[in-house]
Subunit: 273 residues, 3 copies
Amino acid sequence: MSEYTKQITRLISEVRSKKPLIHNITNYVTVNDCANVTLAIGASPIMADDIDEAADITSISSALVINIGTLNKRTIESMILSGKKANEKGIPVIFDPVGAGASALRNETTSTILDKIKISVLRGNLSEISYIAGRNASTKGVDASEADIQSNDSIAVAKAAAVKLGCVVAVTGAVDVISDGKNVVTVLNGHKMLSNVTGTGCMTTALVGSFCGAVKDYFKAAVAGVTVMGISGEIAYEAAGHKGTGSYHIAIIDAISRMDENIFGEKARINEI
Amino acid sequence: MSEYTKQITRLISEVRSKKPLIHNITNYVTVNDCANVTLAIGASPIMADDIDEAADITSISSALVINIGTLNKRTIESMILSGKKANEKGIPVIFDPVGAGASALRNETTSTILDKIKISVLRGNLSEISYIAGRNASTKGVDASEADIQSNDSIAVAKAAAVKLGCVVAVTGAVDVISDGKNVVTVLNGHKMLSNVTGTGCMTTALVGSFCGAVKDYFKAAVAGVTVMGISGEIAYEAAGHKGTGSYHIAIIDAISRMDENIFGEKARINEI
Amino acid sequence: MSEYTKQITRLISEVRSKKPLIHNITNYVTVNDCANVTLAIGASPIMADDIDEAADITSISSALVINIGTLNKRTIESMILSGKKANEKGIPVIFDPVGAGASALRNETTSTILDKIKISVLRGNLSEISYIAGRNASTKGVDASEADIQSNDSIAVAKAAAVKLGCVVAVTGAVDVISDGKNVVTVLNGHKMLSNVTGTGCMTTALVGSFCGAVKDYFKAAVAGVTVMGISGEIAYEAAGHKGTGSYHIAIIDAISRMDENIFGEKARINEI
């Protein structure tokens, strides 16, 4: 195991021992899974999206996760207010621009969030991050498109977005790429069946948020979160892939809940480029 | 296997090869299951209900599913706007009038939707469709009532509603009935344990929407969606019925994800009346 | 088995035979689980939170469950209106003050609900109920805190809150305590893994609501609901605890759906103090 992988591996115990409180303003499609994976990796989730409490909840949390999967006027305002509060207090903000590129509202909201809030980690699929990086991309729904299989594209897009925004960017797909604009790490873990369950992207973002709540190095936190999901996707496939996507979905959460340094260290396929 | 059943069977491959994008404006109780069954049958779900993007999302989709399970003023407006956009662009609209008959708001919203939007397929249980057809029905909650066991009633109600609305109507229950007002098909698949899991009706509607996004014959699409759920309810019972309703719920999604022409052709019990 | 435990045991059959309709105004994180546990214990759930139908739906229901897990201005109004309607018609109101103590909005909403609505059963964890009882408590997220292991505290807090509010109070944790201010019952069932799944508190409240819809003695209904969750947490641990929290989650619902008087009577550890 490389020294770098060893460092990431140790973060598993760190999040489990610190049990950070993670504030999620997220969509109503995958919110239950986001809460359950946050618990499964050892953090504590709190979901709150009313403007009258969003900033209060952010203030007592160790990280804020913003996900625009089912954005609406009411929650967009809360996202902005919570994001500003997080910036003010030095709390990391993790942003999942679900469906960026698919509607004017998603595009405008993404711009507003990126303009008004300093993001620590941006996590999306290739088409979403390409849209943000200002490159061509076609969004087909909110799930991974075929284009995701091209890791060269992902590296270029992740770097471009990271330079543009000055934050860590994670582009997930067949190969996951994490970059801060200068350094690039790829993660080869994962399974294509992950795209047959809704919200595995959102869950990855929730995991990244959980690590960011426990670890000050947000680049490593992003690598850890992305790798936990990839490994869990592999373990779940072995355990339940033959049964179907319902059992696979449950087995993903099982695997996250049982993740420890031994399993992580043995299975992680993390490369510094 | 009858020629008709063969035609329906072939639709399984059609939805899987076309992977249509399906826009769902639905309730927050069963939305995760609706997204996952849409993926499980091979389509791609997108959930979006804000008035500022609803019509945009409909425009890029192959079908629109409207479900009033947890309707509210904000989403009702989006339903109407998306429905009109779908009509304008020739995109099929599938409507699930959850709880019609149970409150004035549900009744008025149902009327408004039926007045302002041309529906391709209406899917509900006997009490909901009876309400729409203008017949007596008592709604007890949003799950199937005892009355559903009477297939003669279902046939009469489905035909009456189809004539009244000029669309395909699916009344699901112990015996499922699909009618366009003239033709009637019954589906004998299903299992009574389906009524012990919330949202199996919503999921059926999501499946019908998935087929409508891939197949121009909405009558056959409705028969396919209803039959997939019925067969999956049977397979799930064999696999997990003895474990309890949690495992049964997961096994339904498993069965949908593994549905293919062989399984469908072997188990479908579809009758042209 | 004590005479008291026998009386509680008989309630399992009572809720299953009466199938009461339970109106839930709840959060979007755990709403699917709340609906499914309501079905699993034999009641019928209906979720409706728009101000234009909330009171109508309450009127046709046998109990109203209010849960502020993801409260917002729109749903708070519906909670108040439905609560008043329930009081007017003699329908029991079960209140879950999720996260009371964690934000000004939750605190104010909790006060408003307790001021304007006569509650039949209040169900929360030690920090939430301590906040309501006016005692010191620190809320860390919405899940159980370490303090919950102190049953002496729970007894004092449950009694104090019950006296203050004049209702039945259930404080759940390692030891569950139910009190009406005078009488105290403890339930020793449960498993610590329950705190690794989001919403097991909400589900407990939904179970209490289901029993309150079928049984006029709300104290016993609360004991029954709390005990069903505790026993199910134990059975689920035996069945699936080793697999992880995803499978454990599903196994909880399985166990509730298979609960009968034999299992309940054999496993219940209910003590009158």
